[in-house]
């Protein structure tokens, strides 16, 4: 056990709460309780998961695990009895929730309304399930409560009485939300009924929570309010500013509902905090946000879970209590971090199989969390349902199908069967998205391939499959899927065109991609935004100003787009506007903390500003997230050695570089016409495999061939091919040596030829090709070559992953055996140097002979 920081933890869930709504409300003094909580604690954005489906997200919050681990993957699931579809049950959860871990340690937990939590688990405390509050019948009819709604069952009667029926509500409850409610024609407009249900439901949950807080002892209390999400789905389209398609009368009626919903939550929060007492650690979180602005979708597609498109990717997190910092902001928090953080507050280790992290920056003291392999392996009384009650509804549905086929059970009616099939399909689709979100693309592809085969006309399945293939650079497979969609649907949608453009970018064809995106933008300027794609094209083409403009355009539309801030930062960095670049990168990581390349570029920009401490910090964060970015490690080694004078830390990083080396590559480099092709031919003859595509044919200038590969020319923007060059020899001109990625080890054979000879040789080559005239040598080019050579001599020896040997061109021609012995020793002594020496053809070295 570690140090216990929290006496008690109150975890409050506000589904869909969003800072974009809250901040102006707090500024105007309309959410005083939350404001106080915020000012006395830490706050942050809370990154959600994809797809943003609340039951899956709230289970991730309660377990610290991604949905494909915890097993709650949709809103509904097949009823294991085969009789149809039911709301998702807690018995489908495959791993322990945080309250089960507490149960094993004799702690008292209460859980109210968590989604899903039906049937209530037999924990040491009270659990009121998520099927508790909903009234399905008129008030004059009986309102029974489902078995399993309350644990312990003997408290069911008590909690039954705390339920509020919507019909109990009066104008006193409704008018704060809709002041002109009297004008509503309730025969035609059912929104008032919807509103009263939402108010009644959340007030019911609140009544149960306050009862427990006032009457029972507790260590942990988790209460979940879904009302903000429901207010938003029902009424956000009426929220100011008025959307174009909303008529004035409806706008005026309903424009206050969302705001009033938040104010009501602030009132409920005040009561919770009052009852919880001063020593409690409070964690208030939402699972995702909700677009309140111009990002509100105008229309939703007709598909299951379409309303989730209204969700924004960032929810809220607020922490307040003993040991928590005051009035500070934390970055990079995710919904997966709740369980690890609360476990740490109670001094428990976190599970290494949890996907979230402890929000260590929220604590006043430095915290180093303990770890165990998995809490699921720790035996004890967890308060879960007995194993025989835990179900896999999908396995149950399959088993049911088998029994039907065997004739043991009658096949359910066609409608039920269809409903089950649809549910299984949709949930598998969500599961595939969850895998994609967790970067487990192969698992996603397996599911989506099956879905696509069985449902070829459902484009959300096929487009997602194409997206999964694209994510792992399987270009041909992506194109095959797109082509099948085109054949099936008979059309090419904008999304398909955008994906084709993205493929061109992956294929390192930024010009073609740019042309396509510009065409899309021209054809449909108001429908589709391709600023991000255009920005990426411009970056690849080093059109920094155009890239800056494209990312700025995107940010005007969506200031919360972290990738756009990053792209903008890169374009500014390359234009040497370092201060502005730093600001952009800070914006990017402020929105999405887990963004290794944004931290990397932040480090680069700070380095250029001479802010070495901060630069080192940024590179350290980058490496924490992506330890394989050796370029960051190399820059860090340099900073610690030369600027911060911490050689021991530099040494640690130097040692780590080797851990992330993927393989070895031999590089033949030098200025053009310095003998690199000859060296390539020698190494080929000597027994090494050369990396060449033979595209550039031998000619009068190089009768024995160039030994080049077209991909090398694009090294500055495309390094993905380097893996194919492992163990081979690659010709790279000296200007591109600096672009070699840091996760390979290089032995560089650098051809050292007198600069005058090089220039003469290049000039004669240009004359032969009709591209230059006699006596027109460009002195600026000569100076650039000189600088390049100086840089090679200074820079390469400092790189941890590079060794270099300079081979004299003159010696190689005049005394090849001796010069090649040096090369052979450098490369490990396995070459056939005699054969290599036969490559030298003195008759070819016209320029030198002429001299």
């Amino acid at each position: 056990m570690g140090k216990r920081i929290a006496k008690k933890v109150l975890l409050i869930g506000w589904d869909a709460a969003d800072w974009k709504i809250i901040n102006p409300l707090m500024d105007a003094g309309h959410m005083p309780t939350l404001e106080k909580l915020v000012n006395g604690g830490v706050i942050g954005n809370f990154a959600t998961l994809d797809p943003p489906l609340s039951p899956t997200l709230w289970t991730s919050i309660a377990t610290g695990k991604r949905p494909y681990k915890h097993g709650i993957i949709g809103f509904t699931e097949p009823d294991p009895s085969g009789k149809g579809v039911r709301p998702v049950y807690i018995t489908s959860r495959k791993v322990k929730a945080i309250w089960n871990i507490f149960n094993q340690h004799g702690m008292k937990s209460h859980v109210i309304g968590w989604w899903p939590s039906h049937p209530a688990e037999p924990i040491n405390g009270t659990m009121v399930s998520n099927l508790y509050q909903r009234a399905s019948k008129p008030i004059n009819e009986p309102w029974p409560m489902l078995d399993g709604t309350v644990h312990p069952p003997e408290k069911a009667e008590l909690f039954k009485k705390l339920r509020i029926h919507p019909a109990e509500l009066t104008p006193a409850h409704i008018l704060p939300f809709i002041p002109d409610a009297i004008k509503i024609d309730q025969e035609k407009d059912k929104r008032l009924g919807m509103l009263t249900k939402i108010i009644a439901d959340c007030s019911t949950i609140h009544a149960a929570a306050t009862y427990i807080l006032e009457n029972e002892e507790w260590d942990f209390l988790g209460v979940y309010y879904d009302a903000i999400d429901h207010f938003c789905h029902g009424f956000m389209k009426f929220h100011p500013p008025q959307m174009q398609m909303i008529p004035d009368d409806l706008y005026n009626l309903y424009k206050d509902v969302v705001i009033s919903g938040y104010k009501y939550h602030d009132m409920m929060l005040e009561r919770l905090l009052q009852l919880a007492g001063p020593d409690v650690t409070v964690m208030l979180v939402s699972d995702h946000g909700f677009h309140p602005d111009h990002l509100r979708p105008i229309e939703l597609p007709k598909e299951p879970a379409a309303p989730a498109l209204e969700h924004s990717p960032y929810g809220i997190v607020v922490m307040n209590g003993p040991g928590i910092k005051k009035d500070e902001r934390i970055y990079g928090a995710s919904i997966l971090d709740v369980t690890p953080t609360i476990l740490t507050m109670f001094g428990f280790p976190i599970g290494a199989d949890m996907d979230g992290n402890v929000l260590v920056n929220a604590f006043e003291e430095a915290i180093v969390p303990d770890k165990i392999d998995s809490w699921d392996d720790v035996p004890g009384d967890t308060g879960e349902h007995p194993k025989d009650r835990q179900e896999d509804p999908y396995a149950a549905a399959e088993a049911m199908e088998q029994l039907i086929e065997l004739g043991y059970i009658e096949r359910p009616s066609e409608n039920i069967e269809k409903a089950i099939k649809n549910t299984v399909n949709e949930n598998n689709y969500y599961l595939s998205r969850m895998y994609i979100n967790g970067r487990k693309y192969n698992e996603a592809i397996e599911i989506l391939t099956k879905l696509f085969e069985e449902n070829p006309t459902v484009t959300r399945y096929s487009m997602r499959l194409a997206h999964a293939y694209q994510s792992i650079n399987k270009i041909q497979e992506t194109r095959d899927v797109l082509s099948k969609i085109k054949t099936t649907s008979g059309k090419e949608t904008i999304s398909m065109k955008i994906m084709e453009g993205n493929l061109l970018l992956v294929e390192n064809k930024p010009k073609e991609a740019m042309a396509l995106f510009e065409k899309i933008e021209e054809e449909m300027p108001n429908i589709t935004r391709v600023n991000m794609q255009l920005g990426k094209c411009y970056l690849a083409l080093k059109k920094w100003k155009k890239a800056e403009d494209a990312f700025q355009n995107e940010l005007q539309h969506d200031p919360g787009n972290a990738a756009a801030h990053h792209g903008l930062g890169v374009s500014l960095l390359r234009r040497k506007q370092y201060d502005a670049a730093v600001e952009s990168f800070l914006n990017a990581v402020g929105l999405t903390y887990f963004f290794p390349f944004a931290h990397y570029h932040l480090g680069e920009a700070l380095y250029m500003l001479g802010e070495y401490e901060r630069s080192a910090e940024a590179f350290e964060v980058c490496l924490k997230m992506a330890p394989g970015i050796n370029k960051a490690r190399q820059l860090l080694t340099n900073i610690y050695n030369e600027h911060l004078k911490k050689p021991e830390i530099a040494q640690d990083h130097k040692a780590k570089i080797a851990e992330f080396i993927k393989g070895d590559i031999v590089i033949v480099s030098g200025l053009p016409r310095s003998g690199t092709s000859m060296m390539m031919q020698m190494l080929d003859t000597g027994g090494l495999e050369v990396f060449t595509d033979g595209v550039r044919k031998s000619d009068e200038n190089n009768p024995k061939g160039y030994y080049e590969h077209e991909l090398v020319k694009s090294l500055s923007r495309n390094k993905t091919w380097m893996k194919d060059a492992m163990g081979k020899v690659v010709k790279v001109i000296s200007q591109l040596v600096f672009e070699l990625p840091a996760n390979y080890r290089y032995k560089i054979i650098f051809m050292d030829r007198e600069l005058d000879e090089v220039i003469q040789s290049q000039h004669k080559m240009l004359i032969r090709d009709g591209k230059a005239k006699e006596d027109t040598i460009n002195i600026r080019v000569v100076n650039a070559f000189k600088q390049n050579l100086e840089r090679i001599h200074n820079w390469v020896p400092k790189q941890q992953n590079m060794e270099i040997i300079f081979v004299s061109h003159r010696n190689l021609i005049n005394n090849p055996v001796e010069e090649l012995k040096k090369v052979n020793d450098f490369l490990g002594g396995t070459l056939d140097t005699k054969a290599m020496a036969t490559v030298v053809d003195k008759s070819l070295h016209r320029e030198k002979a002429a001299k």
């Binding site: 108010i199 609140h206 009501y264 009561r271």
Partner: protein
């Protein structure tokens, strides 16, 4: 230890004075949670009883009057 729920729930203002609960309820009472809910329902029930009692009295006085 669980405390027993008392039958009669009263609400006081921040300065300790008894709060007059409106029969139509309020969001504030719902935000108080179970205590506000219980107190409101008690007042509502009492009001309904009073109304019924008044109607009964009226009926007894004027048995021919339709209710």
């Amino acid at each position: 230890m669980e405390k027993k729920q008392t039958n009669k729930v009263s609400i006081t203002t921040n300065d300790g004075k008894p709060f007059q609960i409106p029969v139509e309820g309020s969001l504030g009472l719902l935000a108080l949670g179970y205590k506000g809910l219980v107190a409101w329902r008690q007042v509502r029930r009492q009001y309904q009883k009073t109304v019924v009692a008044k109607q009964t009295q009226k009926k007894e006085k004027n048995p021919d009057t339709k209710s």
